[in-house]
């Protein structure tokens, strides 16, 4: 083999991986735009959650059909990675099937890759049918129009292409092995691709080599492309599902955070020694903003959630508000958060590392208060999410901003709240009448 192809391969690899690293850096910079929260508790439980939910896919199989197919595609993905290891060595050093020294184990490996590849193809086709022919409800909601829909299909096409390339490559290789072509080590088992060798007819060795080489190059180029596609796609979840399930909440779902900034103020108000009319000290820090109106007000776990979202819509399909035709869709909350975060990130890149006010924010420009007020805080979305995303926490943080910073609650809720303030109940009843029921 001449060295040109080795060098070309090295360049391709460096460029592919280089871009990927750049994207990962951008990703982590953007996630860190969120507020700091400490997540260093319950370490062993968190590892367990990650193993169970991300690796073990326990939540996926709650919906058995999609869950089963997903596990096949997921296993296929992991296997591509073992394959890639061999491809990289072969590519860099001009070897061929370098792992074939493993002997019969190698045959088992290649054989099972092929079977999986076929299963992946079948699953991907079924996935495509579910999205485009059966049009399962959760895939055709308004927030899925445009890019999200194309993204979903594109992923399927890429997977289909990669698997096909892999099988055709093996078929050509197998044929070359049968023809005793030098350099083509006799190794591997080809339970699936042996059936496609017939398409080659009595092609010449040189044509077969061209096919084998072309599919080999396209396969690895495709993988590198896919790697760099992730950042722009919901497919990012194949990486982020792991940290996301690790950092997911381990508290009871009903427990909302108590805002520390509020606790401080309440303590001050309750302190009999504090002078409520005292002017704030000169060096007093700017009072913290209550709640969230933009992505920087959310914490980094919530932002990680946004990048991890698979846009599967399981949350939305179980949301009582969405099921009854309200605008709220928990999936849209996550997608909007990611889109806005991307916008903020690009703004920072364009302005030498500092965010320049663009007159936009998450609240209003992406998520309307109508959506926020439709939530019943029922936790169905949190329960459903296969990778421990919590759309509800974002909804509540935004409500906090609406109420505490803007006094923009619906009138009925304002009435309810002033009742609580004045007489300790959400209705206009006197606290002194609290025990009347005993005598009634």
């Amino acid at each position: 083999m001449d060295y040109i192809s080795n060098i070309l391969f090295a360049i391709l690899l460096i460029v592919g991986v280089g871009f990927f690293v750049k994207n990962i850096k951008r990703l982590s910079r953007n996630i860190k735009l969120g507020k700091d929260v400490k997540v260093d508790d319950n370490k062993s439980l968190r590892w367990k959650n990650m193993a169970k939910i991300a690796l073990g896919q326990t939540k996926m199989v709650v919906r058995p059909v999609a869950g089963f197919l997903h596990i096949i595609v997921y296993a296929g993905f992991i296997i591509i990675n073992i394959e890639v290891f061999e491809i990289i060595i072969d590519g860099l050093f001009g070897t061929h099937r370098v792992l074939s020294f493993l002997g019969s184990f190698y045959n088992v490996l290649i054989g099972s890759f092929e079977i999986l590849a076929l299963l992946v193809i079948v699953s991907v086709v079924i996935f495509w049918i579910r999205r485009n022919v059966i049009k399962i409800k959760r895939f055709v909601k308004p927030e899925m129009e445009g890019w999200p829909k194309n993204d979903g299909n594109l992923i399927l096409y890429i997977e289909l292409l990669l698997m096909t390339l892999f099988l055709v490559m093996n078929a050509a290789d197998y044929q070359l092995q049968l023809l005793d072509t030098p350099h083509y080590t006799k190794a591997g088992a080809f339970p699936i691709s042996q059936f496609i060798t017939s398409i080659f007819g009595d092609m010449s060795v040189s044509s077969l080599i061209i096919i084998e080489r072309a599919t080999w190059w396209l396969h690895i180029a495709g993988i590198l492309f896919f790697l760099n596609y992730l950042y722009y796609s919901k497919h990012l979840h194949i990486l982020l599902a792991f940290p996301n399930t690790y950092y997911g909440s381990v508290k009871p779902k009903g427990q909302f955070t108590n805002l520390d900034a509020v606790t401080k103020e309440v303590k001050l108000m309750m302190d009999p020694n504090a002078d409520p009319f005292a002017a704030p000290a000169e060096d007093a820090p700017i009072p913290e903003k209550f709640g969230a109106s933009d992505v920087q007000d959310l914490n980094w776990v919530q932002l990680l959630n946004a990048y991890s979202c698979t846009e599967c819509g399981r949350c939305t399909s179980s949301c009582p508000a969405n099921l009854t035709g309200k605008k709220l869709s928990p999936r849209k909350i996550m997608m909007d958060t990611r889109d806005r975060l991307e916008e903020v990130g690009k703004n920072i890149d364009a302005n030498n590392g500092v965010f320049k006010d663009d007159g936009k924010q998450l609240l209003g420009d992406y998520i309307s208060s109508e959506e926020l007020w439709a939530c019943t805080s029922c936790n169905a979305c949190v329960e459903e999410c296969p990778i421990s995303i919590d759309p509800l926490s974002i909804i509540i943080d935004m409500r906090r901003y609406l109420v505490m910073e803007q006094s923009a609650a619906p009138t009925e809720l304002n009435n309810m709240m002033s009742n609580i303030e004045n007489n300790g109940a959400p209705w206009p009843y006197n606290q002194m009448d609290r025990l009347n029921w005993v005598k009634e």
Binding site: P252, G325, S377, C378, G424, L435
Partner: protein
Amino acid sequence: MSDQLKVPTMEQFMAEGKQPEILFWVGSAGSFDDRAKKITKAFVKILNKANVDFAVLGTEESCTGDVAKRAGNEFLFQMQAVMNIELLNGYEIKKIVTCDPHSYNCLKNEYPGLGGTYEVIHHTQFIQELIKNGRLTIEGNAFNGKRITFHDPCYLGRANNEYDAPRALLNTIKADVVEMKRSKSTALCCGAGGAQMFKEPEKGDKDINVLRTEDALKTSPNIIATGCPYCNTMMTDGIKSKEKEESIKVKDIAELIAESENL
């Protein structure tokens, strides 16, 4: 029979220098809402029957602040919480029972961070405990074979993973428990949570409580059982909108137990 209810207050216990076994947190709905008051009374009858040494805060009780918190008013929530915690800690309360899953969740999960740590249990859990310890025996046959479907309150079920206690109680009254397709962790909300109880719903094509009532109707129940005063209101309204109030009753588990035992 209400004149026979024994409802001592913490103040009375304090005056006698005693501590009750448990504090009954009645909650705002349980104190003021006509439908919910019936649940409160049914539960007190059970407590009286089992000779539970309990107390209420009475006129000293105030809203937990839960609904303000869900509405986004963290400030009002914490004001209420700090006030209540001061009162509860002053009385050295250790154990609290309530018929309202929202108060239950709030007291159990959100008060500890503000200095109020108590053992908090839901009334279905407490009744189950009473039966288990032999303090309450269920003998009635009124619901024998009646088809009863249980609507899981979000704040008892998903929020705190309690699905069994209410169902176990339905079994003790020998009901034929029928499950809705969406039940336990996949149960659909009644539509009241997150402060929705106090406002008109956003524009949509249906009310949530109607959708949930349809879920329940599919099980052809005689009774829809609930464990939350707000769920009760929502399901009752749902049944009315389907004009089924004559044939299908919406009852709290405590009411079913009390009725079963003729309390």
